[in-house]
C-alpha cells in the first residue's frame, strides 16, 4: 500500500520536472540507439569488410563533397561518422557503466566500512586506496596492457576501475564519518539493528548524495579517461572506436579543418553526459524528502 504510493509520488514529481525528463529521454535514446545499432545504422563500422578507404574524409552530407549515406561524413578510414557514433556509444556506455558499477560498488562498500568501523578496516582500505591511487589510471592502463599483452575493452575497464574506486571510497568515507555521528544512527542501533542494517538502511542513504554526484560526474570522467587512454595509445581497439577514440582521432584533423570528426562525437558525448547528470540531479534531490520542489 505504501510502497506503490511513494513510487507513484516519485513518478509524479518526475513528470513535473522537465530537466529530469529531458535527461532521461536523452539517456533512453542513447541506450536504445546503442542496443539497436546493427538495425539502424547504414554501415557497421566495426566490420572491416564494410569500411573502405574509398570514402575517407567525406564531409557531412549538406556540405560540398558530402555523399549519401554518410549523413555526418566519414573519418579517415572511411567509417561513417553517424554509424560509428552509435556503435561507439555502445563501447563508451559499456565502459562507463561497467566502471561505475564495479568501482562504485566496491568503493562505496569500502568507504562505508572504513568510515563506519574505523580501526584497522579503515587503515587497511584507505592505505590500499592510497596505494592504488598512486599508480593512477593512465599508468595502470599501460601496465595492464603490458601484463595482458592485449588492448581491449576489458583492459580499459580493469585499469580504470582499479584506480577509480578510490574516489568513491574516500567520498563515501567522508560522508559516513559525519553521518555515523547522527542521533538517528544511534537510535537505530538502539532498536537492535545489526550493523548490516544500520549501514544499509540508515548510514548509506544519508551518506549517498555526494556519491550520486560523483557517479554522474564519474561516468563522464570515465568515458573521458577511456578517450585519454586512446589518446595515449592504450585504449580500445582501433578498429572498434569508442566515442572517446573518435574524438582522439578527430583531434588530429582539427587544424586541417575537418571538424566533423570531432564535433559530432563530441556533441554526442556532451549530450550523453548532460543527460546522465540531469537525471542524477533529479534523483538526488528526489531522494531527499526535505528538499521541497
Amino acid at each position: 500500500m505504501t510502497k506503490p504510493r511513494t513510487r507513484s509520488k516519485m513518478f509524479h514529481s518526475f513528470l513535473h520536472d522537465p530537466p529530469a525528463m529531458a535527461g532521461s529521454a536523452i539517456l533512453l535514446v542513447f541506450v536504445l540507439a546503442a542496443l539497436c545499432a546493427p538495425w539502424i545504422t547504414p554501415q557497421n563500422p566495426y566490420d572491416l569488410q564494410q569500411v573502405s578507404l574509398e570514402h575517407f574524409l567525406k564531409p557531412p552530407i549538406w556540405m560540398e563533397g558530402g555523399e549519401a549515406p554518410f549523413v555526418l561524413g566519414t573519418d579517415d578510414q572511411g567509417r561513417d561518422i553517424l554509424s560509428t557514433i552509435i556503435y561507439g556509444c555502445r563501447t563508451s556506455l559499456i565502459v562507463g557503466f561497467s566502471v561505475v558499477l564495479i568501482a562504485g560498488t566496491f568503493g562505496v562498500l569500502m568507504g562505508l566500512l572504513a568510515g563506519y568501523y574505523g580501526g584497522w578496516i579503515d587503515v587497511f582500505s584507505m592505505r590500499l586506496a592510497d596505494t592504488v591511487f598512486s599508480f593512477s589510471t593512465t599508468l595502470l592502463a599501460i601496465l595492464l596492457l603490458g601484463v595482458f599483452k592485449k588492448t581491449g575493452i576489458v583492459t580499459v575497464i580493469a585499469a580504470i576501475s582499479i584506480a577509480d574506486w578510490v574516489r568513491y571510497a574516500r567520498t563515501m568515507r567522508g560522508s559516513v564519518l559525519e553521518v555515523k555521528e547522527e542521533a538517528y544512527v544511534m537510535a537505530a542501533k538502539a532498536t537492535g539493528a545489526r550493523d548490516f542494517r544500520l549501514l544499509v538502511r540508515h548510514v548509506l542513504p544519508n551518506a549517498i548524495p555526494p556519491i550520486l554526484v560523483v557517479v554522474a560526474v564519474d561516468l563522464a570522467v570515465v568515458i573521458m579517461l577511456e578517450a585519454t587512454l586512446s589518446f595515449l595509445g592504450v585504449g580500445v581497439p582501433l578498429t572498434e572506436p569508442s566515442l572517446g577514440m573518435m574524438i582522439s582521432i578527430g583531434k588530429n584533423y582539427i587544424y586541417a579543418g575537418m571538424w566533423w570528426m570531432v564535433v559530432f562525437p563530441g556533441a554526442a558525448l556532451i549530450l550523453l553526459v548532460v543527460g546522465i547528470n540531469l537525471f542524477a540531479d533529479w534523483l538526488r534531490e528526489e531522494l531527499n524528502p526535505k528538499i521541497g520542489r
Binding site: 509520488k9 509524479h12 555521528e181 542521533a183 521541497g292 520542489r293
Partner: protein, 329 residues
C-alpha cells in the same frame, strides 16, 4: 488592512503546506495581537500550528512546500508578510527574536555555542570578536550554564539537552529584542533552571518592555507568567482570554478538556492514581478536515450545527474570544 496600534498584530494568517497528498492547512485564519511588555501564552494541541505561526512571523516557512497564502502580520507599521527580505533581515534577531523548539537540530553542529551566540553581538551590536565572545559568555552565565567560559567553546553535541536549549535562549535574548517568540523554551529544563529562565524573561520584559509570545504545553508556566492566553486547535484559534479567567472558567470544550488532563502535583499521594482524563478521539488530519467545527468529532457537546459549518470567533467581551456554537452563532 489597516495598520495596528498593537506592537504585533496578526490578521487572518494562513500558512499552508503543499504535500503530495494535498494541501495541509497548518495555520488557517489565525488572528491575535501582542502588546509591548506583555506575555502572551499560546497553547494548543500538538501539531495545531503554533510553531508554524511563529515561523510565519519570522518569515521562516520553508518555501516550498510551505507558503503564507493569506493574511497580514503588522509590526511597527510594517506588514511582515510583504516586507523586503533585507528589511526583514534587520528585524530578525534584533527586534524579533525566536527560540526554536528543537534545540539540537537548530544549533549549527560545526560551531561552538559561544561562536553562535557571539555572532548575534557582532551582527546587531557591531562588536568585535573578543567583546562579542565576552558577552556571549555572560549570556551563557545568565541562562545558568555552569562554567560558561568553558562551555562557550563546546559544540552542541557535547551539551545536554537542557544546555542546548539554554544556548538557544541565550542567543535569542542576546539583543534584548522587542518581541521574543519562545517556542517551548523550557521543555528540557529542570524546574529550578526553568524558574530562573522565566525570571530572566520577566526581567527582560521589565527592562525593555519586551513582548513575549510564549508557546508552551506547560500550563504551569502559562499560569505563572502569561497575561493572556491564545488556545489553538487544528490551525485555528479557538479561544483567547486573559490568564486568570481562562483557568477559572474555560469556555471552549477543548480548553476545558485540556485543563482537565493535567496531572496535578501531590494529587496522587492524596487521592491515589486516578486515570488521567483524555480528550477522546483523535486530532483530525489537516488534509481532510471535517466541514464543520474542527473539534466536533471529539466534542462532548457536539450539536448538529457543529457538523455543518464552522463556528466564528465570538467576542464575549473583555478580550475574551471563543470559537464555539455553545456561545451563540
Amino acid at each position: 488592512m489597516t495598520e495596528s496600534r498593537h506592537l504585533l498584530e496578526i490578521q487572518h494568517l494562513k500558512t499552508y503546506f503543499t504535500t503530495f497528498e494535498g494541501v495541509a492547512r497548518a495555520v488557517d485564519d489565525v488572528s491575535f495581537h501582542l502588546d509591548r511588555g506583555e506575555v502572551l501564552g499560546v497553547v494548543g494541541e500538538s501539531g495545531c500550528g503554533k510553531s508554524v505561526t511563529a515561523q510565519s512571523i519570522m518569515r521562516l516557512i520553508p518555501e516550498p512546500p510551505g507558503k503564507i497564502v493569506g493574511g497580514h502580520i503588522w509590526f511597527d507599521g510594517m506588514d511582515l508578510t510583504t516586507l523586503q527580505p533585507s528589511a526583514m533581515r534587520r528585524i530578525r534577531g534584533d527586534r524579533i527574536a525566536m527560540i526554536f523548539q528543537e534545540p539540537m537540530t537548530s544549533l549549527n553542529p560545526v560551531y561552538t555555542i559561544g561562536d553562535q551566540i557571539a555572532e548575534m553581538f557582532q551582527l546587531h551590536r557591531g562588536m568585535g570578536r573578543r567583546e562579542a565572545w565576552r558577552h556571549a559568555v555572560a549570556m551563557l552565565e545568565k541562562v545558568q550554564i555552569p562554567a560558561p567560559h568553558k562551555r562557550a567553546s563546546e559544540y552542541p553535541h557535547q551539551l545536554s539537552g537542557g544546555m542546548r536549549q539554554r544556548a538557544m535562549i541565550a542567543m535569542a535574548l542576546a539583543c534584548d529584542p522587542e518581541i521574543l517568540i519562545a517556542d517551548e523554551p523550557t521543555t528540557a529544563l529542570d524546574v529550578t533552571v526553568q524558574a530562573q529562565i522565566l525570571d530572566l524573561m520577566l526581567q527582560l520584559k521589565e527592562d525593555f518592555q519586551t513582548a513575549v509570545m510564549m508557546i508552551t504545553h506547560d500550563l504551569g508556566v502559562i499560569a505563572e507568567i502569561a497575561q493572556r492566553v491564545v488556545v489553538m486547535y487544528a490551525g485555528k484559534v479557538v479561544e483567547q482570554a486573559a490568564t486568570l479567567p481562562l483557568f477559572e472558567d474555560p469556555k471552549h470544550p477543548y480548553t476545558r478538556g485540556l485543563l482537565r488532563s493535567i496531572p496535578k502535583l501531590g494529587e496522587r499521594s492524596k487521592k491515589g492514581r486516578l486515570r488521567l482524563e483524555e480528550i477522546p478521539g483523535m486530532v483530525p488530519g489537516l488534509l481532510d478536515l471535517p466541514p464543520g467545527c474542527r473539534f466536533e468529532p471529539r466534542c462532548p457537546h457536539s450539536m448538529a450545527v457543529c457538523r455543518e459549518r464552522e463556528p466564528e470567533l465570538q467576542d464575549l467581551g473583555s478580550g475574551r474570544l471563543v470559537r464555539c456554537f455553545l456561545y451563540g452563532t
